[in-house]
């Protein structure tokens, strides 16, 4: 059953990658990368039990933390960039 769930998560990661490559706006790409990161955490947790190596859970925890911080940093960057562009347009 772990194999079935891992396969479902892997297929979803491929779909998220397709959306990241296609995404018309930058926010579509950020959404796809965020999805990819969350699915990585899920996949690591499932694989920890599939291969019976509970150490992988620590990796999953660390990855969840890094993913969250990374997404917020990227969003802050793009928000500041568009705000700066708008202010430049008004001046």
């Amino acid at each position: 059953m772990y194999v079935a769930v891992s396969l479902a998560i892997l297929v979803t990661m491929i779909l998220a990658l397709l959306r990241a490559l296609r995404g018309p706006t930058v926010y579509d790409r950020v959404l796809a990368v965020n999805m990819f990161g969350t699915k990585t955490v899920l996949l690591l947790s499932v694989i920890a039990f599939l291969m019976e190596r509970p150490d992988f859970l620590d990796l999953a925890l660390a990855y969840a933390l890094i993913n969250m911080v990374g997404i917020l940093a990227v969003l802050e960057f793009f928000q500041n960039r568009t705000r700066g562009a708008q202010e430049d347009g008004h001046d």
Binding site: M1, Y2, D28, P54, A64, L75, F78, Q79
Partner: protein, 111 residues
């Protein structure tokens, strides 16, 4: 007896979680417009996280692994909606409007 029941329950939860993950992936790829895609991805993310982690915790039993799984699940449940909110807020602030049609009084669609 109890172990068999727990196995069946965790198997069902894991399979349901896999189905939700797949639905989220297909929705994020095929729905029109950014906000509909965000909606599909974030809702199924939370549901699949609960289902898959509770399913694995039933397999882990009472151990340190179950505690770690619970910590990861709680963290994902807090950060997932936060990231979705930040994403939608950033998109709205930058001027990306939702694709929507409004119904007038006769019930016909107008853009």
């Amino acid at each position: 007896m109890i172990e068999t029941l727990l196995d069946i329950l965790s198997w069902m939860l894991l399979c349901a979680g896999g189905v939700f993950v797949l639905i989220g992936g297909i929705g994020a790829l095929r729905l029109p417009g950014f906000y509909t895609r965000l909606h599909a991805a974030s809702l199924t993310d939370s549901m699949a996280t609960i289902l898959i982690f509770v399913g694995i915790m039933l397999q882990a039993g009472l151990s340190l692994a179950a505690l770690k799984l619970g910590a990861i699940m709680l963290f994902l449940l807090v950060t997932g909606p936060t990231a979705s909110y930040a994403l939608a807020n950033a998109a709205l602030q930058s001027g990306l409007r939702p694709v929507a049609t409004r119904l007038d009084s006769e019930g016909t669609e107008e853009p």
